[in-house]
């Protein structure tokens, strides 16, 4: 009898406390920074094109085969604005199949894909579950703006940085060949 009364007191005590529930559609709980929402493709502002080169590694490593990708020759590379020889032409993720595991992000060599915070993707049409390149890039831009995302390997992947590096390599190489005797002579041992 005593235990039952104790239980009743426990329940009654909550009549004077604030509820812990959130009324969902009206009130959204904050998302954790690492939250893995729907994968999105990221945008390289320095070249004005996506990071993705369509190398297909995410397509191959996806446990549910939810992606499709096609690449093309990059016109911006011929103009000298980008270092990417190939660029993504078509990309499609079927979010009915995607299990949000994050393997595609892990295997990507080009910092091109990231788990965005998009998660309210409910719809009424099954055909609408195929997310195209434009939408993926849109999600990616939103994610980049909101989260302050930074590429993990900018020297290789950000077009601006990579092009500058290439240029530097070419020019100082020429400059170094001229000034080689001057720069190579003083070795650390002789200097001291």
């Amino acid at each position: 009898m005593l235990a039952t009364l104790k239980g009743l007191v426990t329940t009654l005590a909550w009549a004077f406390r604030k509820p812990v529930t959130a009324q969902y559609p009206k009130q959204h709980l904050p998302i954790q920074p690492r939250y893995m929402g729907f994968p999105a493709l990221l945008w390289d502002d320095t070249a004005g094109e996506p990071f993705c080169t369509g190398c297909m590694v995410c397509v191959r490593e996806c446990p549910t085969q939810c992606m499709k990708a096609e690449m093309k020759d990059n016109p911006l590379q011929q103009e000298g604005k980008s270092h990417r020889r190939k660029i993504i032409e078509r990309f499609e993720i079927n979010w009915n199949r995607c299990i949000l595991c994050g393997i595609c992000v892990e295997v990507c060599n080009f910092d091109a894909i990231e788990m965005s915070h998009v998660h309210e993707l409910g719809g009424y049409a099954r055909a609408g579950s195929r997310v195209t390149l434009q939408e993926l890039l849109k999600y990616g831009r939103e994610f980049q703006e909101r989260s302050g995302w930074k590429p993990s390997n900018p020297e290789k992947n950000v077009a601006g940085v990579a092009l500058a590096k290439e240029k530097e390599k070419r020019q100082p190489a020429a400059a170094a060949s001229r000034s080689e005797p001057a720069s190579s002579n003083p070795s650390p041992g002789k200097e001291s």
Partner: protein, 370 residues
């Protein structure tokens, strides 16, 4: 003569499930009933069969972790751990210490989350509507932490062969300590609410009892076996990760009835908190991932690894032919074995007790059917 036949008493056949809220998934029981008493019971499983073991043969080792997430979908981290450990043992990989501690902390928190879910739904099974709300409130704290660490509330895909995906966030220790205080208070509140409630006691005490010898014969493990008085716990008897450095008790009950199984899980939650506390104190700095090749290719061979899941002894038997995909993966699921003594437990009990008994062995159908 015909009148005599009409007056004959026949057993009533009652279908319970697969769509029944008390079966915790899609599980069907066919009950033969004589009045209020159960004469015989036949379980039907396989409604959630996804062929996970076969699917493993077509996936690379990194992808298998996602499949194991979906076996016991209430204790994801514990499932990931066992498959990662199997591949690591085969490859002879030494996992960095920090990664081991992170794994143990997450697994123990997941054990608490799983037992809280059991606590809530068991209250529902026994007819108490309130406890589930309290249990979910507490569980939500843990799920939030998991989201902050791994990026997902369930199906984390966070453990990797050779460590964990990412180091924990910088405020992890603080956060866990805060959560543990809240959890302890919440669990005590839950305890007050249900554990010794007279109605709950009369529903569960002495119901569905099984003795130690029969339990071992049926292959019960985990809390279900410990409730019969057998102190078997893989964490103690075959320590893995860093469990041999941690101090904790293995709670044991004696009668093996429904209430003992319930009470044991409540006690285990406090022990898990104790383990997490120690881990936070001992956790060193350092890398969280071993230096490995990008694609795991274990050498030719076979290995059996088992870990203590919230539901018992989860084992994985892995055969590799040296390729990037396993040759065969066999899972020894604790829930499946917990279902084995169902006939033994249910014969002779009341129909209403069936729900209580099935709830007390705490099965997850994702693991039973695989």
């Amino acid at each position: 003569m015909t009148t005599e036949k009409q007056q004959e008493t026949v057993e009533l056949l009652l279908n319970m499930g697969p769509q029944h809220p008390a079966t915790h998934g899609v599980f069907r029981m066919v009950l033969w009933i004589d009045g209020e008493r159960v004469v015989d019971v036949e379980p039907h499983i396989g409604y959630l069969h996804r062929g996970s073991e076969k699917l493993c043969e077509g996936e690379s080792y990194a992808q298998i972790v996602t499949l194991f997430d979906r076996l016991d979908y209430i204790a994801n981290f514990n499932n990931e751990l066992v498959v990662c450990r199997a591949a690591e043992k085969l490859m002879g990989v030494e996992v960095p210490e920090r990664a081991q501690y992170i794994r143990v902390i997450l697994c123990e928190l997941n054990r608490i989350a799983s037992h809280l879910l059991f606590y809530g739904t068991y209250g529902l099974d026994a007819g108490a509507m309130t406890p589930v709300l309290y249990a979910f409130r507490e569980r939500e704290r843990i799920q939030n932490l998991f989201e902050a660490v791994s990026g997902a509330r369930m199906m984390h895909n966070f453990f990797r062969i050779g460590g964990v995906n990412e180091d924990v966030p910088p405020d992890f220790g603080q956060r866990v300590r805060r959560i543990m205080g809240e959890l302890r208070r919440g669990m005590e509140e839950c305890d007050r609410l249900l554990s010794f409630n007279e109605i709950f006691l009369s529903r569960t005490r002495g119901i569905g009892a099984i003795d130690a010898e029969t339990a071992i014969d049926y292959g019960l493990t985990g809390p279900n076996l410990r409730a019969c008085g057998v102190p078997y716990d893989v964490r103690k008897d075959d320590p893995y990760e860093v469990y041999d450095r941690l101090e904790f008790d293995v709670p044991v009950a004696e009668h093996g009835d429904c209430w003992d199984r319930y009470w044991l899980r409540v006690q285990e939650m406090y022990q898990s908190l104790h383990i997490v506390e120690q881990c936070l104190e001992q956790m060193p700095e350092g890398p969280v991932m071993a230096q490995l090749r990008r694609i795991a290719r274990p050498p030719k061979g076979e290995v059996f690894v088992h870990c203590e899941n919230p539901r018992g002894d989860l084992g994985v038997y892995l055969v590799s032919d040296g390729g990037p995909k396993p040759y065969r993966v066999k899972v020894r699921p604790p829930s499946f074995c917990s279902l084995m003594p169902l006939k033994h437990l249910m014969r002779g009990c009341y129909v209403a007790d069936c729900v209580v008994i099935l709830g007390s062995i705490d099965i997850v159908l994702g693991e039973v059917d695989r």
